[in-house]
């Protein structure tokens, strides 16, 4: 075990994957000698050479197009998009190509060995274009897997599983806690399961569901609520697509209440899908409406970032509203 922050855990996972399988390649803007703008790919080029770890020209549609080709050839491509906000030029390559490759070819071909890493989320004074949480845009796309870790341990285990999973994975890294989240991470190789949520804390009155950096917010809100005698069950979704409705519904059937929270704008966010599905399945168990504590339906602001964010106070207020419904 070593103490690592999330960037180190990501870096360590990449090292581990590249050591174990020489077909793993890392590509993206500035990922080479420089090690990426967040340094998640530090020392990889030195260790594995310029052919396995390389800078690309500045063109996201090309990065994913190229990585799609690489993966379809059988190489294991780990492509970095420098910020989640800049993934949209690659939207066609992801949504129309990556996600549909296996299906359209009847399984003859696939890009299952592709992993797309990208930092996402707010809280770093990034304004419109260095703060977005684009998960819901991809969650409407059959064929993709979407994964987000909440801490360094999760990051390493989930990233290794993503790289090795035989499906394309969008791996979203919560950049706000890249350095802030520190914890024990095994030096050895391990994987955590995709498609499985995790009950992080058991409770009986209400279920709080989130993923990535938002987990910290849920924990703080739960601590506030506990002081009022409200027992919160906290669930980390971990995989956004396909998502683990079973674990979530089991929790809701126990508590009767659910709050889902994400930073992305509320309308059309992934909380909507969860809410829709849970009310379908757990209709008779619900004691109050499923609530969403999300970003406002605006572009991501700068001066009003604090006000925009679904912080612990807003979650705490929602908990009380739900309890008092």
């Amino acid at each position: 075990m070593a103490q690592m922050n999330m960037l180190q855990a990501v870096n360590n996972a990449l090292m581990t994957a590249m050591e174990e399988n020489e077909r793993v390649m890392v590509l993206g803007e500035d990922v080479g000698h420089f090690g990426g703008v967040f340094r998640a790919t530090s020392n990889l080029q030195e260790k594995f050479g310029r052919e396995r770890v390389f800078n690309t020209p500045l063109v996201e549609q090309g990065i994913i197009g190229f990585a799609n080709g690489l993966a379809s050839q059988g190489s294991v491509a780990v492509a970095e998009i420098q910020f989640g906000d800049y993934i949209f030029p690659a939207f066609d390559q992801i949504v129309n190509e990556t996600a549909k490759w296996r299906y359209r070819s009847g399984g003859q071909f696939s890009v299952g060995s592709l992993t797309i890493r990208t930092p996402y989320g707010g809280g770093i004074a990034g304004g419109l274009y260095h703060s977005q949480s684009p998960e819901a845009y991809f969650a409407h796309t059959p064929g993709m897997k979407i994964v987000t870790p909440r801490n360094p341990y999760q990051a390493k285990g989930l990233l290794l599983a993503s790289i090795r999973d035989d499906n394309p994975v969008l791996f979203m890294e919560p950049k706000r806690i890249y350095r802030a989240s520190v914890g024990d991470v095994p030096e050895e190789d391990y994987e955590l399961p995709l498609g499985k949520a995790e009950v992080v804390k058991e409770g009986s009155d209400i279920t709080l569901l989130a993923w990535g950096a938002q987990m910290e917010v849920m924990e703080k809100a739960a601590a506030m609520a506990e002081k009022d005698g409200i027992s919160c069950e906290i669930v980390d979704l971990r995989s956004i697509l396909p998502w683990d409705a079973e674990t979530v519904c089991a929790s809701v059937e126990k508590t009767g209440r659910l709050i889902v929270s994400h930073e992305a704008p509320q309308t059309g966010g992934f909380a909507a899908e969860i809410s829709a599905k849970v009310q379908e399945r757990c209709f008779l168990y619900l004691e109050s409406p499923i609530m969403r504590v999300c970003g406002l339906d605006t572009p991501f602001p700068l001066a009003h970032e604090k006000e925009y964010m679904p912080d612990e106070l807003k979650v705490y207020e929602a908990i009380k509203r739900s309890m008092n419904f």
Binding site: T56, I64, G65, Q73, R102, Y103, S105, G106, G107, K145
Partner: protein, 395 residues
């Protein structure tokens, strides 16, 4: 750390110096005259009788297939078709210059390359009828072929996406140390997509052994080339990317063969991309959904009919003593029969069972698709007459 060189080779001038289009003027390679005679000064590529005839027969087969399938579409037997009439040489002769291990990523009008690789009449039919014998499982519209065993990537409709993909595929081949490369076909219209820029630039920077083969056939549906770009075709763009480029007469099978052979040699030995622009003409309608009389003249079409690549190659083959026109006519008739027979036979083959609606979305069918399939099956069992294609086989 490497020293940077973005200025190291730059000359200086003291007057405003405008680089304009006229600076270059890219000629095209031609070996056969339109009448099939070898042009003075031209050198025939090394081409065995066997290969020459295979190219020729492939072109003829595709001409026959295209004719027949356009008719079948009119009769409502298939939903859609897209012919390559007039452009058969570009794909047949370029495919012939490749090694079988080379990956082909095509746009959609390169059925001759696929046929050259050995795709059978039956396979063509299976795809067009979206039936259960088709390895792509009938999920895409007719003409979206794909055959793993022939190293022919399944076609996808969005234009241009295969261009950066081909660069990546080729990079993977290079990393595996194989003596194989990738060819990527696309139209001059698709070359306007952002993915074209991405693909060519990345291939150059990342030293990918790939041939970018642009079929410039003058139209993208109704849009003529001069509303598509203002440069000297697509070839002139190669310069900007630092990519070696060859322009070739797209209706001259020998020239295509020679150009592609050379391009492959360069790509594989120098580990770099090569751009080929084949100048041709889409004699066919864009597809069976299109009617070109709305946007171009009969005279223009006639001019290009006169440059027919099949007739041109036939004359050359005859002059070599490799082809007998009478025998060939019989051969073509046999092809026609074969196509008809297969069409009739294959149109009766059923589509895949309903389970295949949800396979291949992921490597394994996930829980939510299991559920959706289960619900769907129950629904179909309730209303079998409304889902005749699958109801009979829902267990």
């Amino acid at each position: 750390m490497k020293t940077r060189n973005h200025l190291s080779d730059v000359g200086v001038v003291n007057q405003v110096n405008i680089i304009s289009n006229g600076l270059i003027d890219i000629p095209m390679l031609q070996i056969l005259a339109p009448d099939g005679t070898v042009l003075e000064g031209a050198v025939e590529p090394e081409l065995s009788k066997e290969t020459a005839l295979k190219i020729f027969q492939t072109m003829q087969f595709i001409r026959v297939l295209d004719e027949r399938m356009v008719a079948a579409q009119r009769q409502g037997r298939i939903s859609f078709y897209l012919a390559s009439t007039g452009e058969e040489a570009a794909s047949a002769a370029s495919a012939a210059a490749l090694s079988f291990d080379d990956m082909i990523m095509s746009q959609y009008r390169e059925q001759a390359a696929l046929a050259y690789r050995g795709y059978t009449t039956e396979q063509f039919m299976n795809q067009m009828f979206s039936n259960e014998k088709e390895p792509n499982k009938g999920r895409q519209m007719p003409i979206h072929y794909g055959a793993k065993e022939l190293n022919f990537m399944t076609i996808s409709s969005p234009l241009g996406t295969q261009i950066p993909q081909a660069a990546g595929y080729a990079y993977g081949q290079k990393m595996e140390g194989k003596d194989a490369m990738t060819i990527c076909y696309f139209g001059e219209g698709a070359a306007s997509e952002g993915d074209f820029h991405a693909g060519l630039n990345m291939a150059a920077v990342l030293s990918c052994p790939v041939i970018f083969f642009c079929r410039n056939n003058g139209y993208a549906i109704s849009t003529p080339a001069d509303e598509q770009f203002k440069g000297d075709g697509i070839a002139s763009r190669g310069i900007g990317y630092g990519i070696k480029t060859i322009r070739v007469d797209g209706n001259d099978a020998l020239a295509i063969y020679a150009a592609t052979q050379k391009a492959r040699e360069i790509a594989v030995s120098e580990k770099c991309p090569v751009l080929i622009e084949a100048m041709s003409y889409r004699l066919a309608a864009h597809s069976t959904s299109d009617d070109p009389t709305g946007y171009r003249s009969k005279e223009e079409e006639a001019q290009w009919k006169a440059k027919d690549p099949i007739a041109r190659m036939a004359n050359w083959l005859v002059s070599k003593g490799w082809l007998n026109q009478e025998e060939n006519a019989k051969h073509v008739e046999a092809m026609r029969q074969d196509v008809l027979t297969e069409l009739k036979r294959v149109e009766k083959v059923p589509v895949c069972p309903i389970d295949d609606l949800v396979t291949d979305v992921y490597s394994e069918v996930p829980w939510h698709l299991e559920e959706q399939l289960k619900d769907l099956k129950e629904h179909i069992k309730k209303y079998p007459e409304h889902y005749p294609k699958t109801a009979g086989r829902v267990e």
